[in-house]
Amino acid sequence: MNWTANDFHIILVGGLCAMACALPGTFLLLRRMSMMGDAISHAVLPGLAIAFLISGSRGNIWMFLGAAIAGILTALFTQWITRFGKVERGAAMGIVFTTLFAIGLVLMRKAADHVDLDAGCVLYGALEYTPLDMVTLFENETSFFAVPRAALIIGATLLFNALVITLFYKEFKLASFDPGLAETQGFRPQLMHHLLMTMVAVTTVAAFEAVGSIIVIAMLIVPPATAFLLTKNLPVLIIVSLIVAVLSAALGQVASHFPPLLGLPDTTSSGMMATAAGFLFLLAWLFGPEGLLKRQSREIEAPEFD
């Protein structure tokens, strides 16, 4: 196995991204809106394409804005269709994100005449290439310290998410567990909802170029769900899901080196990170305090009569 500094950088970017996603993901899970992450990460496509068609280049502030707006619109449209059309939320979400995705595909096809911008890069990202684009943070005669540019962007996103959640912790908590009570206490659960959606959209967009939407979707859902099986305490839930997120990134990168050992070709880091997260979930599902195995043994010891 050829382990290099690149692996460290990839884990750094992947891990930061996983943590940035796990934070809003925890509250999405509590609000039973986990699929929103999936919807938003597909629906940012037209925002990217339009911003690209307007500005003419990729990787700038316009792309970021366009995608963030598209993400927030997804949440809004879903809410409108649910409220005014009285459609179930899952169905509304499905209609909105597939439609926006389709519009995005058409626009991208138009944009593709001008420059290389394909949907594949949105899905897969280019995690493996992040070490090629380094930024030097600190340099003197004896040593220097450089990190991938993507790590800075995603690190900033993580800080932003952490800041928002720390500032509005009480509000998020109440709005997640009892929106009705939050409303009567004057906490504006709707506002919290929009803030959460903005966080998800911003995180998705910040992460898409570096790591692709696969990691974003997986890390929004799987680490919080894994933590959910291990604890019933909210602060612990958040911390455990952050740990699971980082572990998934590290484990995924390590695992991406295994196929070549077996004589198989190389594979993507991002796909393996999502797979690793799934593996950790499986462990929690089987061996956690309420896990399948515990449940079995408990049932053998003391059958429940109800």
């Binding site: 059309g85 597939t98 519009i103 058409v106 997986a218 190389d266």
Partner: protein
Amino acid sequence: MTWELLSETLRLEQYNTRLVVLGVAFLGATAGLVGSFLLLRKQSLLGDALSHATLPGIGIAFALMSALGFTGKSLPGLLIGATITGLFGVLLVLAIRKTTRLKDDAAMGIVLSVFFGLGVAILKMVERLPGQSAAGLDGFIYGKTASMVWSDFVLIAIILVITTAVTIALLKELTLLCFDANFASTQGWPVLWLDIILMALVTAVTVVGLQAVGLILIIAFLITPPTAARFWTNRLGWMLFLSSTIGAISGWLGVSISALYSNLPAGAIIVISAATIFLFSMIFGTARGVLPRYLRHLKLLRKVGRQHLLRSTYEILEETQDTKPLKNLPIPIDLLRKHRYWSKGELAKLIRQARSEDHIERQPSGELRLSESGFGEASRITRNHRLWELYLIKYADIAPSHVDRDADMVEHLLGAEIVHQLEAELDLSKPTIDSPHTIEPKELVPLSKPTG
């Protein structure tokens, strides 16, 4: 592009597009049929999880077939692989839901993202396998409609015919499952197996659709037509029919339009066509559309306003007169306004409305007076209100001093039949309970007696 070319394409006169249009329209119809049950079961996004979960299967099937020396990209093999991991993914969703505290959305999200990640990892690996070229396998993510050939078409048609036949054969069971799973369970129906059969049907449609519209856009085929159809009808049969039709039309329009412009991906245009139909249905749909519902609401508001106005007028007449046969005298507007604390604008609007309906006349002095039909209507409405009050006092134990407001909220919905029942129930000739108002049986009875 000319108009002739457009109409030629839409009428399937171009051989190139005919096959694709037929295949995709058939797919749309079947997806609309199966998707209806998915929507009613409130599991629309399961199609999302399912379609993503097919990806590892495609990669594995390709690798296996290549390793065994077959053509890696043979469609039946790939579809079998997709079916296996797709079904496995759905079973995992059901298992997570059953054995943990996690809810639907999380279970679907976990399966979706992990399987998709795994699928992408496998595809990347397979692409770098020596020997066969796997280029184009990721066409399953976005679809490659135009590449459909005769053998693909036959395979797709066979699967769709079987799916449709099974759905129609199990119509009763699936309906029961969607509308009242608990009842089905207590009646001894194998609910879990029905759920699994429904999932198998969805899997069949999804797997077939992968080739045509891609794994992300097939979700739209499963969700959008049924949701659009739901706005037009409250009957299941009609909904199934409409949903299939909308699916077929979207497929037909999408393929035709994309055939005219070389640059448009067919899958995306299909989805956009379906979404356009959805938007139209959501606004204009006769059963649940936003506009008809809004109009019905306005109509009800008008009715409530009219009834309040007439009853207030009648009550003022009662309060200002001592003699019993009530005389229809003019009353000043101010008195009316204070009676229900209307604002000036509100009252003016109500009066305008009542005048256009010929219930109220404006006297030269500026006072208001009920017309002959208005007087009759007002006495009927007042009487209904009091009947309802009596009923609430007698059977719902509401204090006589509070009953007016409660009655106020329901009385507008009282139909003739219910009024008859109230009359029979309350037996007005024997006033045994306190009423806040006087109801004279003699005055009240002249309506026709309830029959039977």
